[in-house]
Amino acid sequence: MPYLGSEDVVKELKKALCNPHIQADRLRYRNVIQRVIRHMTQGLDMSGVFMEMVKASATVDIVQKKLVYLYMCTYAPLKPDLALLAINTLCKDCSDPNPMVRGLALRSMCSLRMPGVQEYIQQPILNGLRDKASYVRRVAVLGCAKMHNLHGDAEVDGALVNELYSLLRDQDPIVVVNCLRSLEEILKQEGGVVINKPIAHHLLNRMSKLDQWGQAEVLNFLLRYQPRSEEELFDILNLLDSFLKSSSPGVVMGATKLFLILAKKFPHVQTDVLVRVKGPLLAACSSESRELCFVALCHVRQILHSLPGHFSSHYKKFFCSYSEPHYIKLQKVEVLCELVNDENVQQVLEELRGYCTDVSADFSQAAIFAIGGIARTYTDQCVQILTELLGLRQEHITTVVVQTFRDLVWLCPQCTEAVCQALPGCEENIQDSEGKQALIWLLGVHGERIPNAPYVLEDFVDNVKSETFPAVKMELLTALLRLFLSRPAECQDMLGRLLHYCIEEEKDMAVRDRGLFYYRLLLVGIDEVRRILCSPKSDPSLGLLEDPAERPVNSWASDFNTLVPVYGKARWATISKYQGAKRHGPELSNTTSFATSGSLIPEENKERIQELPDSGSLMLIPNLQLTAEYFEKTWLSLKVAHQHVLPWQGTVHPDTLQMALQVVNIQTIAMSRAGAQPWKAYLSAQDDTGCLFLTELLVEPENSEIQISVKQTEARMETLNSFISVLETVIGTIGDIKS
């Protein structure tokens, strides 16, 4: 047991190391040293035998030397004065006739992390850079970087840097790559190694001679090279073409990234490259090396963000197999969710439905959420599958389905009816907090369409004493109050009971305060309650319309083949943000640049939220029923209140437009077929005060714009303006998606 008597162990080993009999017997001596290293590995403090180990370094046995050097590198910072004793031996070894010994000594000497060692290592490193054995040169080149690191913020030695730049022309490929790495670290403050035209071309010519690590590294360095002309750019791409098919996935990804970055002004080249790496990526996705497969899947998802149809025909490749590890299955489900299209939606949903009953609850829940994601575009089919899943009456499935329903109703109001019909009965199978909250929310908001909603809530109210989750109680309060507004007779009594319980008996302060708040609100009067609880919500549906908009390749090209797709952008932002804050710029120029690009994201989102039309002053009522005759009559009787034109290109897709308008509660009365010229549409909407908005959209084929004419039954400027801004946003969004 090494952890118990560590002092005894040190004492014993010390004795053994000093024993002249053991020292005389090479094998026994080495065994003792091995024991020291073994204890060191286990985390025991072995610095007590430093002196004896230094003595052991003066040996001809190379293995023993290696072990002792490993030991010294670990403990040198703790015993700097003793470590200086070893320098002599190391310096002697640096001029050994055997290149391996020279290399070993130099490498170890550079790895001694202690103050004052620089003056001793400078000369051996310089000698090493001119050594005739490339093995020593490799070590010496990296030694320069180590030396610089020891110095900390010391000045950059110009002569050394020049020497390293000239070593870029070395015969040995590993020396070349090490030079790049070393220069990068030394020149970090100046922005890293400079890749100019001669260096770039030199590296390109040496590429095929490098091993896979070298190739990946060089590809990474070439990212910062800017070709002067288009011709040069395409020459480079041609030269690197074969690396897109390299046997090493790392090189393939590196090459892909380089192509994407270099060709950032040529979208067709980028698309072409992504088509060409489809094969290698798919191969990696179905390879036996699970970890690589995972990484490849992460990158496939990244590509799908920009080219949704890219892998659609290969959807079967992303079907999960029973014995795959969890993390691969979850990634595959995400991929399936993103590559779905009109042709494969049936098969994909069929497959996902199978996963929903998987033994692993985690996986089945992920599959259900995936179906929920697909439901945003293929609502009817998905809602049907989800409804069927409720029939299984299993707790872990029901709870996730209900949560999915909640999100879905919020994003796609058109499915509210179907969801409301599916809900009754599922309260028996929900036990966890999340599921209960979702169910209660649905019952509260859409309670007027669910006949037994008050009775379900009543059960919750009756059992509120034994309810363990405060969040559920909060949700219950809000939901019951909402339902009370639409169905007062059935709810009044239990609302009273619930409020009484929350105020008098509840121990959780947040719940109690919420109870008190609602109680006082009710005292103000029912109209005030209605105004506060049922006033217009921020409308996420426009965000939804923007969501599937393709993100340009250039927005993520710089993140390709880094950890960003693996962790996800948001998570990486938090990871790197902290790093950037903790360590100041110079040390991690690489990561800090990522940090800034990462932290921009939330801000971008904020802006987007602000951009959403403020529909506060205008609330259009859903499900307005207006007959065509009535519309025509009203249209003819009114004058045009507002007319203007918006830019518009190409033909109109009536379905998309109709759907988009529906989510903001603007109904379509009539519409021309797609491609008709001129194209016309008549729309109607009504706000909560009863004012009707009638609209005509007109697209003339010759001038690329859309003309909007709005008529209003009651002339009020402010509502008219907000109506027009809502309409414009929708049309603008649709236009964006198309282009």
Binding site: N98, G250, P280, L563, Y567
Partner: protein, 437 residues
């Protein structure tokens, strides 16, 4: 760049720990143990971030290998490096197990010293490494002049993967075509293939003198069609046997430019064992076995399962190590099995009936029937019916790949292609071979 490399056993004890960069401290070793190895739930991701440090891990049997870094690195590259590390270790001492790692820990430290320097991958070719790693270190004092010069030529040579001056009395080479065939089959009566692919490797072991130039030929559809243009007769004959390769990748030694232009595979091989190529096919796969399941639920407490397997290859060939795994529900109380061939057993701990057959010839059929008795439960959860999986080994390549020739030219030494003794072997193994039921 990699900040440190740790190896743990299944209990989370550190077997090897090597730190390359200052930013990785000793506490990183413990962080991984606590957060990943000792974590209750299953592994969420092979990349774990703990306190802004990324841990990349792979598992070999019950050994954990973890690479640690604080930088934004290329994930694929790090994993490739870990695989390479495993390959190199395996080449030195065989299987990666706790015992082997403990016994060879000096050697592993030596390897880690050579493969990575300051966290950057250096030389990682097993053949080339062998000159640097001296397991019998005592020899090194008396290291001959010749060996020393070998190191120098090795490390300066233009061809990183082969040293000069290799001599063998007997020039010999071995070619192994190793394939793993993957299948996902739907349950419907005719049995529809949902997805099937073969991932294969051509592994070569070469014991050749000098700097031999090799040329490898196989029944690649594109090559055969190109050649067959002259004689139409031949095309129709050989066209049937050629295969379409979806994608393939080669060892560094293969001249890719030549492959791109003429689709010929020529190279100077490394000494010893290496992987010449890796490929994947998805068309015209010979599925060695068909599994036909029949599951009938008799009431609530009984289940009747009948599974037929049919071997689908030449009767003269023998498949080996056949194992069919039929999952059973969790509430199984007893199982009665009858099988025509081999041995079948219900393994309660694995929730499966495992049916093993030692050998089976082609074009044969065998069947197993089982009665599974279930405990009545009030659990309304329906049994998910996991797929029936199968393992086997067959002496042919399920993709249909055939080695047509492997020619060796060494102009400087006087041995010719005919003097080289060549061995070719095909092994097809099951990858994930599942039939849903």
């Amino acid at each position: 760049m990699i900040g440190g490399l740790f190896i743990y056993n299944h209990k989370g004890e550190v077997l090897i720990s090597r730190v390359y960069r200052d930013d990785i401290g000793r506490n990183a070793v413990d962080a991984f143990r606590v957060n990943v190895i000792h974590a209750r739930q299953q592994v969420r991701s092979p990349v774990t971030n703990i306190a802004r440090t990324s841990f990349f891990h792979v598992k070999r049997s019950n050994i954990w290998l973890a690479a640690v870094t604080k930088q934004n690195v290329n994930a694929a590259m790090v994993f490739e490096f870990l695989y390479k590390m495993c390959d190199v270790m395996a080449a030195y001492f065989g299987k990666i197990s706790e015992e082997n790692i403990k016994n060879n820990f000096v050697l592993i430290y030596e390897l880690l010293d050579e493969i990575l320097d300051f966290g950057y991958p250096q030389n990682s070719e097993t053949g080339a490494l062998k000159t640097f790693i001296t397991q019998q270190g005592i020899k090194s004092q008396h290291q001959t002049k010749e060996e020393q010069s070998q190191i120098t030529s090795q490390v300066t040579g233009q061809i990183g993967w082969r040293r000069e001056g290799i001599k063998y009395r007997r020039n010999e080479l071995f070619l192994d075509v190793l394939e793993s065939v993957n299948l996902l089959m739907s349950p419907q009566a005719p049995g529809q293939v949902l997805s099937a692919h073969v991932s294969g490797r051509v592994v070569m072991k070469s014991y050749l003198s000098g700097m031999p130039e090799c040329k490898f030929g196989m029944n690649d559809k594109i090559v055969i069609e190109k050649q067959g243009k002259g004689t139409a007769d031949e095309t129709s004959k050989s066209g049937k046997q050629s295969i379409a390769i979806d994608d393939c990748t080669f060892h560094q030694c293969v001249r890719l430019s030549k492959f791109d232009s003429e689709r010929s595979i020529s190279f100077i091989p490394p000494d010893g064992e290496f992987e010449l190529m890796r490929y994947r096919t998805t068309k015209d796969i010979i599925l060695p076995f068909r599994v036909i399941p029949l599951v009938r639920e008799v009431g609530r407490t009984k289940l009747e399962v009948k599974v037929v397997i049919k071997s689908n290859f030449k009767p003269s060939l023998l498949a080996q190590k056949i194992e069919v795994r039929i999952p059973t529900p969790l509430n199984t109380s007893g199982v009665q099995v009858i099988c025509m061939k081999g041995k079948a057993k219900y393994k309660a701990s694995e929730n499966a009936i495992v049916w093993k057959i030692k050998r089976m010839a082609g074009m044969k059929e065998s069947q197993i029937s089982a009665e599974i008795e279930l405990l009545p439960t009030n659990d309304k959860k329906k049994w998910a019916r996991p797929p029936i999986s199968m393992n086997f080994e067959v002496p042919f390549a399920p993709s249909g790949l055939k080695v047509r020739y492997l020619k060796v030219f060494e102009p400087k030494l006087n041995y010719s292609d005919h003097d080289v003794i060549k061995w070719v072997r095909y092994i097809g193994r099951s990858g994930i071979y599942e039939t849903r039921c």
